[in-house]
Amino acid sequence: MTPLSLFELNNLVRSVLEQTLDDDYWVEAEIAEARLAQNGHFYLEFVQKDAEGRNVFARARAVMWARTYNLLSPLFERATGERLRAGIKVRVQVSVEFHELYGYTLNISDIDPSYTMGDLLRRRREILAQLEADGIRDDNRSLTLPALLRHIAVVSSAGAAGYGDFCDQLRRNDYGLAFRVQLFPAVMQGQNVEESVLAALAAIADEADRWDCVVIIRGGGATTDLADFDSYALAAAVAQMPLPVIVGIGHERDETVLDFVAHTRVKTPTAAAAFLIDHGAAQLARLDDLHDRITQHARLRVQNAKSRIDTLALRLATMPRHRLLDEHHRMALLNTRFTQSARFRVQNARIYLQHISPRLAQAATQYIQHAQLQVDALAARLAALDPVLQLRRGYSLTFAPDGSLLRSIAELRHGDRITTRLSDGTLTSLVTDNSP
């Protein structure tokens, strides 16, 4: 058999491939390398690794011509939040081409973003499951956000618009809130994300007592490369940070595994700043509320005390007057009662008198008549007792020397001079004998 030239052999391979293969195939592979050439064509290297992801056991070059790339890559990025770059898995429609000079190449004509999305999702789920199994998934989320968020450690790239927006927003807050921000610079895009962010987090954790929280924000408005953050090491570091971590690296539709482990997730750097400002404003509102509660109740307390004093004063002032009035009233009442009763009694007496006077007159007359009779009887009896009459009947009265009426001989002694009264006069005798 005549040896073939290399070109002839390659040409044979080419014609066999062209004859035996279909026009195109859907193939799933991982991008190992990706490079946009100056001419606008996009060159890739596809690989397939074993289950452990270590050993490559299939490899192929691929190309996306500039026209296709310009059409597909924006669609892909919008759908997945990912750039076509090394490390992600894709499902692409390719035609197999063999060129005598350039060899075997896959010419990409279409791409299915849903496969990549699914793959990213699966990776994220695996990381989260691992964090769960390690028991650290909710560590950061269960930290209590300090009431005072003032010293902010920021992980971001220095020159990025996002970091500038974040700082501007904090500075221009309407509440006069003060923030002290320090940047811990890190690469936020590309292969070095993991290593770089890990280093920044470690530096912050070393001086954790200086900071109130950590904010991880991405550079600019690009919505790509999120998968760089879907790393177990990063997620574990965030979960185990001793400070609450606020992440603002996602965008409207997509998210990273960090969104699930960080204390607080927001969409953008400005949203992260707004979160901090809202927190501070809430604290100010809480202080105002406390101020109101305390002063209002103090005022109320003083008011109550004052009104009690006023009431007491009023009672004290009005009490004597009341009492006086009462006394007045009582006196008046008593007076009325008194005069009334006096009048009543006088009237009663008068009636009684009117009633009694005829009887009294009658009784008096009777009494006088009766007395007259008594007097007459007594006069008669008295007349009978008159000593003059007795004397006229022959009785006499003898008086002792001292003038007393003699009733017994024992009162006399021999030689006493006695006087005897008879009806017509007196005689004097000398006692010579006295015998019973």
Binding site: L177, L287, L290
Partner: protein, 61 residues
């Protein structure tokens, strides 16, 4: 004193006031304490504290 401890004290003061437990004699003292805590917390949140810090640093240097 930390912001948190000042806040805790303020909450306690507010509760005390609301319960009406504070004797009139102590009212002024409690109010003064509350005002101090409020001022402290506000300064921590706002730039007032930063200005104080700056003054202190200037004095030191």
């Amino acid at each position: 004193m930390t912001y948190e401890s000042a806040m805790t004290r303020l909450e306690a003061l507010a509760r005390e006031m609301e319960a009406g437990d504070v004797p009139i004699d102590r009212l002024a003292a409690k109010l003064k304490e509350a005002q101090q805590m409020l001022a402290f917390c506000k300064a921590k949140l706002t730039r007032a504290d930063e200005e104080v810090q700056k003054l202190l640093e200037e004095n030191e240097s």
